[in-house]
Symmetry: C2
Subunit: 255 residues, 2 copies
């Protein structure tokens, strides 16, 4: 079956309190897509965070002593570093411009996924506003999914993605940070290959593969395609949890 | 534009010396796909390696002292560890069952990408044969591309992919190991976002995003879909090099 990924165009700027599910439904319909059973919607973290009001005015953040020290080391605003610390469970590495953390959600990323771009608050300098990740992206995905399923009477999956750097490769790639109604991993352990061998490594991070695919379609920020419709996902839709994608610390060789 | 990824079905078992480009052309045509300008073919490393005769009979490999010591530590065959050492420029981590290396091609992966499954040699126990990565995957991609372009008179891209684990996330995902005729990175440095900010991190690893997307369609080994046809890649096709995806050592915080 062919896998198709279609940009959902003309999504308006999202504001706190917006009902993202309803906006997506309306845009899907105006993009002439009709939701079918088994379809998946992939949504950029940015618009989920905005709808959930996760903008923060840096001028209202009081940095701790630890944040002030780390900020000097990393050449960042102390108030921003304070938020990075609040959003993280561990600092892994620091260098000028970058703080690599374990986010409170469990994944490793730069600057706790806090984003400066495309954020505007009310009546204040745009450069003072940043955007935090959703509080609970699996739950965000689940809420959006519930509303769209109720509206369409179709069984779908919803995934929230962000862009992450990698330890040893350049460039960012799309990565899943939350999902509902689709598996994070496809567990092929014990599958037999063409010559009768048992495959050794057979857990496929299908949610991350789909996140990368959808991010390719979302493209550059300036173009503003924060949601993608997916048809033909080649695995059965079943309940998944983002946490399945997190490598247990005792298996981590690179911390 | 919609991105579509279509499995190229019924590719026969590939043997050393097979002309992969011709086999792909024939299968593409029998899958009722007509190649257009801007299309990309994503090919699994395994069939490229087989066509190039990269199978090795482990009983013919003489392990060095270093390989014997490391094999005991990692609970692997000394002859296999010898090949892993030959294919690697640096050993990063070892633990029972796994050796994480910098491959001679520059990327970090487990066991130098040497594969045990679906490899059969002539007249010898199948379990003694392994498959090494292509000698020069960019060149492999370029050769396949040249022949398909000559045959179709269309301008295409060709990419070779393998599946890699990640430092902090579970499961494997498709990753580019060689390409021709498409960019590895889309360099968005300096792009202006919706509120006039200059984006900070804007190199997108588009080849890896496409590799992940295609791997999703390739799915599990048992199903045997080692090539995928891609239409609607949202970046201009231009010459790229796999090496662009390798993080320079001086920027590596996790070695």
């Amino acid at each position: 079956m062919t896998l198709t990924l279609t940009p959902i165009r003309e999504i308006p700027l999202i504001r706190p309190g917006d009902n993202l599910a309803d906006i997506l439904l309306s845009r899907i319909s105006s993009n002439l897509i009709s939701i079918q059973d088994g379809d998946i919607l992939v949504i950029a973290q940015k618009i989920v965070s905005k709808a959930e009001g996760r903008m923060q005015d840096l001028t209202q953040v009081m940095p701790s002593r630890k944040a002030i020290e780390l900020a000097a080391l990393c050449d960042k605003k102390p108030s921003l570093v304070e938020l990075i610390l609040q959003e993280s469970s561990e600092i892994l590495r620091t260098r000028p411009g970058t703080i690599i953390v374990e986010h409170r959600l469990g994944f490793v990323c730069a600057n706790a996924g806090i984003d400066h771009s495309n954020v505007a608050g009310e009546g204040s300098d745009v450069s003072d506003w940043v955007l935090l990740l959703p509080v609970d992206p699996d739950r965000s995905a689940s809420c959006i999914r519930e509303r769209i399923e109720a509206n369409t009477q179709k069984r779908i999956g919803v995934m929230i993605v962000d862009s992450h750097g990698r330890a040893w490769r350049t460039g960012i790639v799309g990565a899943c940070i939350g999902l509902s109604g689709l598996p994070a991993l496809a567990d092929m352990r014990g599958e037999i290959d063409l010559f009768g061998f048992t495959l050794r490594i057979t857990q496929i991070a299908v949610a991350d593969e789909l996140a990368a695919a959808a991010s390719l379609v979302m493209g550059q920020a300036a173009e503003g395609i924060p949601a993608v419709h997916v048809r033909g996902f080649p695995y059965p839709l079943q309940e998944g949890a983002f946490q399945d994608l997190i490598r247990p610390k005792e298996q981590d060789m690179f911390r």
